[in-house]
Symmetry: C2
DNA sequence: ATTGACTTCCAAAACGTTTTGGATTATACT
DNA sequence: AGTATAATCCAAAACGTTTTGGAAGTCAAT
């Protein structure tokens, strides 16, 4: 039997169904059907095949099976981030939920990253729908006029989105009620006595940003509170972005007593920057985030936020997709989850009448 | 427009190479070779094929290609965790590095999770090596007497590990010098005046735990410092585990002035529990972690730790694997990185002589 | 006219499964 | 004896590529 390959490439000398069949003395068909448990093969033969399979260490070639079955048993998830930040807790948690649910149903999960709205992203989606990479896709961070969703709808490719869109395409989604979330946050701050509240919005074009912003404006005006133009600015969802936004907010000399951030990561950046400037978060100024990433409970001070059950959302999104793929069209295809206010130290306490 | 296909299954009506060839009026062979850029097809034909491909929206079927090429262009990463915690920053960062490097070389990354040393984990590895799921594997958190590595070595399946082992198997790895890392930490605390230092070790069986523990004991004794038996206990690498360990450490009434934790997550749990008990981390007691996960800079107080460049490690591990797969055996197959001490607030300041 | 070299093309095999559409044999019923 | 019925089995096709091993044609040199 001599030595192994010279090159670094591993040539699988694995035993094939043909080998197995020959060894047992049956046809390839029978071997295949025996292992698959069809009832048109005698119990005795089935056992012989099965034993031989174990003995020879037979493992079906997954690629061949996929080719024949015309499905990859793989789900795709294309992360929309500039430089691939798997590190972002938002995505990690989501992937956790998706991945676990996928695994439970014996689906593989293929993860990749591309900048939002980039040509590469488009290419990735086209490849995914055409080349048979995956059986279904999960789309997150829906955008206004979302090209991805338009493509998928048009191709009739199976997918579930986390988030809605503004065009009138009909597609399955799971979403959290961002507007209600921000509303809770604003109400909470108002109850504490805040009147001058700033808002750091997610970048334009993101649907959840639209809902959150809308929630902010509506709730403020429903309490007849003013919003100066420079109180609402945009941040890029990162810690650094939050810090920069804090700079701009402070530079405007706005005398805000509270800042609500479009996500936790920015809130953390904001708190850090405020602390650097000698301000005490909670005492001098209140800060809140959105998401309740695991980090939020461990920052200094701990962060008031709105709990978005990312893990659960990932799980449900994935479950819905798998259900669709298995042919069961039944079930709700529009799921809306209500986020929950989490009050922590960054809220501070009630502001005395004099300082409002 | 109109309704969707009856069954939930998406039957790809995609155009195949045969369709394309027929459309252009050449053989399948020629079409294939034209697109692949072989020089045995006339320039003029090549163009015609290419144009037709665009026109028809031809995308090669990845599965068929893989079957023929006998390689999946996919790398595997099996996370050794009880319940799949993609959320764990340790893994997120690592995956980020691995995933980016893989993407750069047009490899897919398949991620799944299994409990360490479980039958499922073993099955996953066998499936991976036999069934042609992936071309190569990345193994992390190497263990004493690591069954995974033994299997892969025996099967001669291509892989790269993050971590060494204690048996004398020869295999490619990237590792950080844990011993040196802990050493820096202990020295740092000693310089601050600490003499009674506790250690929360990673669970038995993990190689990096072995090195870190060794580093702890050796450095302590090289400074002629005592280690009481109950000062060194084991934690499970989670925040909760850290909190529980802190309880046990405090219950032992050990009067420790510093606690070094086997990873950052435990350190965070420890700090939280200490705070709950009314102790001020940094003032009453010093705490340090290991890894420098992104969180560490944002905890309260910020966490002294040892920076393990997880992203970079993931990247290098993946790069090494890909190089192996491409047949270039050249290059270093044993890479050792030295971690870097990061001093933050949880260290506290120098302890006055009187309190040592 | 033959030979050789070169260019351009293609039919058929191969990759390893599953599925299709019978074929064969045994058993039971008229 | 003849005919359903059921129980087992299998050869061949199919999935969509790439690779192999020529074939056919052109051109130039002999």
């Amino acid at each position: 039997m001599g030595d192994r390959q010279g090159s670094g490439t591993y040539r699988g000398m694995s035993v094939t169904l043909k080998d197995l069949a020959k060894h047992v003395g049956v046809s390839v068909t029978t071997a295949s059907r025996a292992l698959a448990g069809y009832d048109d093969v005698a119990e005795e033969t089935r056992q012989r095949v099965q034993e031989a399979a174990e003995e020879l260490g037979y493992y079906p070639n997954i690629t061949a099976r996929r080719l024949q079955k015309q499905r990859s048993e793989t789900l795709g998830f294309i992360m929309p981030t500039a430089d691939p930040r798997y590190g972002d807790p938002f995505f990690s948690e989501l992937i956790a939920g998706i991945g676990n649910e996928a695994a439970k149903h014996e689906y593989d999960l293929l993860v990749s990253t591309h900048s939002p709205d980039s040509p590469e992203e488009k290419a990735a989606y086209e490849r995914a729908t055409r080349g048979g990479w995956v059986d279904g896709l999960i789309v997150v961070r829906t955008r206004e006029n979302d090209a991805r969703i338009q493509l998928l709808c048009q191709q009739k490719f199976p997918f579930v989105a986390f988030g809605r869109t503004d065009d009138d395409l009909e597609f399955p989604y799971v979403d959290e009620d961002s507007k209600a979330g921000i509303q809770q946050l604003v109400n909470h701050f108002i109850e504490l006595g805040h009147r001058r509240i700033g808002y750091i919005a997610p970048p334009k074009g993101l649907m959840f940003g639209v809902y959150r912003k809308r929630g902010f404006f509506e709730t403020m005006s429903s309490h007849a509170l003013p919003i100066e133009e420079e109180w609402v600015i945009e941040g890029d969802m990162t810690q650094r972005g939050g810090a920069e936004a804090a700079d701009r907010l402070l530079a405007a000399n706005s005398s805000l007593s509270a800042i609500i951030c479009g996500n936790d990561l920015m809130a953390i950046g904001v708190m850090n920057r405020l602390r650097q400037k000698g301000l005490s978060v909670g005492l001098d100024i209140a800060v809140a985030g959105f998401d309740d990433i695991p980090l939020a409970a461990y920052t200094s001070p701990t962060l008031t936020t709105v709990r978005q059950p990312l893990y659960e959302i990932g799980r449900q999104t994935c479950a819905m997709l798998i259900k669709m793929l298995s042919g069961q069209t039944a079930g709700e295809v529009h799921v809306m989850l209500t986020p929950q206010l989490i009050v922590r130290d960054s809220s501070g306490s009630i502001i005395p009448e004099s300082r409002r």
